[in-house]
């Protein structure tokens, strides 16, 4: 029989003694079970598939992870996925400063918990190590307050923020900095009332789906801003398989097939602060269950439910997931086969000032020198890379003389059709958007120039 103690190799946080006892129990029950039904071939049925020692979490037979794993193995399995994603994509180096985006929901709660665990372990190692060559990465938490968008009474908002504060404070020391970021902080402080401006901006967008997506982009912008202002160099999100699967379908429906692969990778470094998604391989259901099992407190979100295309897509994906529990993974894997962009990885540290120990830590297993090709321009609203056909159709339009170009999806669902209201909308958008567009385009040109420097004739030579 396969139920020896050695079968349980890792991630089961148990002492040797406990384990032996468990195995004894296990053998007893097994022989007992065998007596009852000798026809049952699977002698380990009713036990955790991995350690074969403990009872699985639940006894329902729908094939979910809860029916296969015991609590410890279940947790270990999830943490393993997280750790593997982090290490194999060089998401967190010892010198890094990581800002965890915490919405209060189960996914980001688990992300926060796992980062915290990793951090305390690194801290422990640091304290134990004599030469202190490996620094411990820094962790901060950011919560985006969107109460200005959804008209909720202020006492409710205060309660939510209080809960978030409590959750972060209750994490074991070292304590983590918490930033409560109002979404209207995307506007620079000297431009008047951001709250009013944000309201006006969202009102100006006619399409419900467009409004939702715009708010999503603004949320990212707010996170980028707070991360950059406080010296963080990684932004960690809790996006899970289920969320990414929804995004795959909705991006397809919105005609963003070209830019889609940029959004579904572990790393997305097109932003000033690279964004990492270490829970990309975990299902929402698993994460919710972990929160329940470990008593991780979550916060009821103040967000109106998705409407329009996004709402339709998420109910469609839920329906499919019910029909086949691996559907979300299949969807994500399909999208994963599309070619990622050049910015979908963390740049290697070449700087010799960084300690060798840190550099050596930058493991990358599955980063092949991929055939990704670079994209020059990005949509100034949603920051998605623009396809050639998008650019061509823009050239034909040539209606706006700004340096900012916009993808066809944003053009349709966010920008108004009539040109005069477009200009009005432009005045309502955060200045940061335009600044980014300009900056990137300039960057691109200078980089291009550098590449062909040797072939360029200087003007002086030209004249002679």
């Amino acid at each position: 029989m396969a139920c020896s103690a050695s079968a349980c190799q890792s991630n089961c946080y148990k002492t040797q003694q406990e384990e032996e006892e468990a195995v004894k129990d296990n053998n007893n029950t097994n022989s007992f079970a065998a007596n009852i039904s000798s026809s049952n071939n699977n002698s380990n049925s009713g036990l955790c598939l991995k350690c074969k020692a403990n009872q699985p979490i639940s006894s329902n037979s729908d094939g979910g992870d809860d029916a296969r794993f015991c609590i410890d193995c279940f947790r270990g399995n999830l943490f393993g996925k997280f750790r593997f994603a982090v290490t194999s994509n060089a998401m967190i180096a010892p010198t890094d400063n990581v800002l965890v985006a915490f919405s209060g929901g189960p996914s980001s709660r688990v992300a926060l918990q796992f980062v915290h665990e990793m951090h305390s372990k690194a801290q422990k190692n640091f304290d134990a190590c004599r030469d202190r060559s490996l620094p411990v990465f820094g962790v901060g938490v950011a919560f985006v307050d969107e109460s200005s968008v959804y008209s909720v009474p202020s006492n409710e908002t205060d309660k939510v923020i209080g809960d978030v504060r409590l959750i972060v404070e209750n994490l074991a020391p070292p304590s983590k900095e918490l930033y409560i970021v109002p979404v209207e902080s995307v506007y620079s402080s000297d431009s008047g009332d951001g709250r009013e401006r944000l309201k006006k901006l969202l009102d100006a967008v006619g399409d419900a789906t467009g409004r939702e997506d715009l708010l999503l982009h603004l949320r990212m912008l707010a996170l980028q801003k707070v991360a950059s202002q406080n010296g963080y160099n990684r932004l960690l999100l809790g996006s899970c398989v289920s969320k990414i699967a929804c995004h795959v379908i909705s991006a397809t429906v919105k005609g963003q097939g070209y830019s889609l692969p940029a959004d579904v990778q572990y790393v997305d470094a097109r932003w000033e602060i690279p964004v990492v998604l270490p829970l990309r391989d975990c299902l929402a259901k698993e994460l919710t269950m972990l929160c329940r099992l470990d008593g991780l407190k979550t916060v009821e979100l103040i967000r109106s439910p998705c409407t329009g295309i996004n709402g339709l897509v998420s109910s469609f994906v839920t329906l499919l997931q019910e029909e086949n529990p691996s559907r979300e993974c299949t969807i994500m894997r399909t999208a994963g086969k599309l070619i990622p962009f050049h910015f979908n990885k963390i740049e290697e540290i070449d700087d010799s000032n960084v300690l060798l120990a840190t550099r050596r830590r930058q493991k990358r297993y599955n980063l092949k020198p991929n055939e990704s090709f670079s994209s020059e321009s990005f949509c100034f609203i949603c920051n998605s890379p623009l396809s050639r056909s998008d650019l061509l159709s823009l050239k034909n339009l040539e209606s706006h003389k700004t340096s900012s170009v916009c993808c066809s999806s944003c053009q349709f669902q966010i920008l108004p059709q009539d040109p005069s209201s477009v200009n009005e909308l432009y005045t309502l958008l955060p200045e940061q958007l335009f600044a980014r567009a300009k900056h990137e385009n300039l960057d691109h040109y200078s980089a291009l120039r550098e590449q062909i420097q040797d072939c360029l004739l200087s003007e002086v030579e030209d004249e002679t």
Binding site: V253, G257, L312, F316, T334, L338, I339
Partner: protein
Amino acid sequence: MEQSADVKAKKAGARLCCLCHQKKAALKRPKTLEQICRECFYEVFEEEIHQVIVENQLFKPGERIALGASGGKDSTVLAYVLSELNRRHNYGLDLFLLSVDEGITGYRDDSLETVKRNEIQYGLPLKIVSYKDLYGWTMDEIVKMIGLKNNCTFCGVFRRQALDRGAALLKVDKLATGHNADDIAETVLLNILRGDIARLSRCTSIVTGIYSPNAYRGFAREFIKDLERIRPRAILDIIKSGENFRISTSTKMPEQGTCERCGYISSQKWCKACVLLEGLNRGLPKLGIGRTRGLNNDDKKDTKKNNGTKSIESKQCGTLDF
């Protein structure tokens, strides 16, 4: 009643066609959301199809083109538009309608009636090929042989190939079908759902094949209808996404070979239809149904040896000459 009709007319009267600015707008076009009149709709629609044909060089002068005709709205529109464009723009095509009769008593009567009406209306010759011609068996005979269970397998496999085989039988150069944007959008979605990157890359190309039904197909259909209600443009956006997917060239694509027996495209040694037919002809109707690997693997050696003699004894895929 009259009053409400009057109100309606007034409302419509306020809106003129936004293309010709003369007639009352009769419909709101889902693709562009323009309010246009009937005549302009015809004109734009036909012109767009003409552009597609010209841009993609779908036809060459003098070609013999079969139009798949089921009697449904898509294929009726196809028959009308292509015959009209062929006349107007002098494509010089030899067009005719092609219908498939499965040989299920009473099943095709209505639709064949419609197709016959199309034949007269658009002046296109009609050819009907039956399963008997193609496979040597009608659907009724198959059902008699294997019973009511499992005959869906036969129907599905045979139907998928029937148009192609019928076209080959009549020695046509090309086959035009009435697949519309909704169908293609659905196929794009289904291929994402089932993780089929290879098909994803070719399902939006304009010259292609048709693919199979599945349990979640129904969900996808519903989903697309709901989408269309919220945002009609979404259908075309899905196709656009499908066209723009950056698919790695190193992704393993299943090899598209041809069936050793009948020459139809097949990723296996024998195409599914030939396996099923072999079963029927040998009196083993369960062959090729379910998970048995059947002819293509286990029996490979056996069939190879017998191939010569067997093919003389049994009817080889009907009376096809490829």
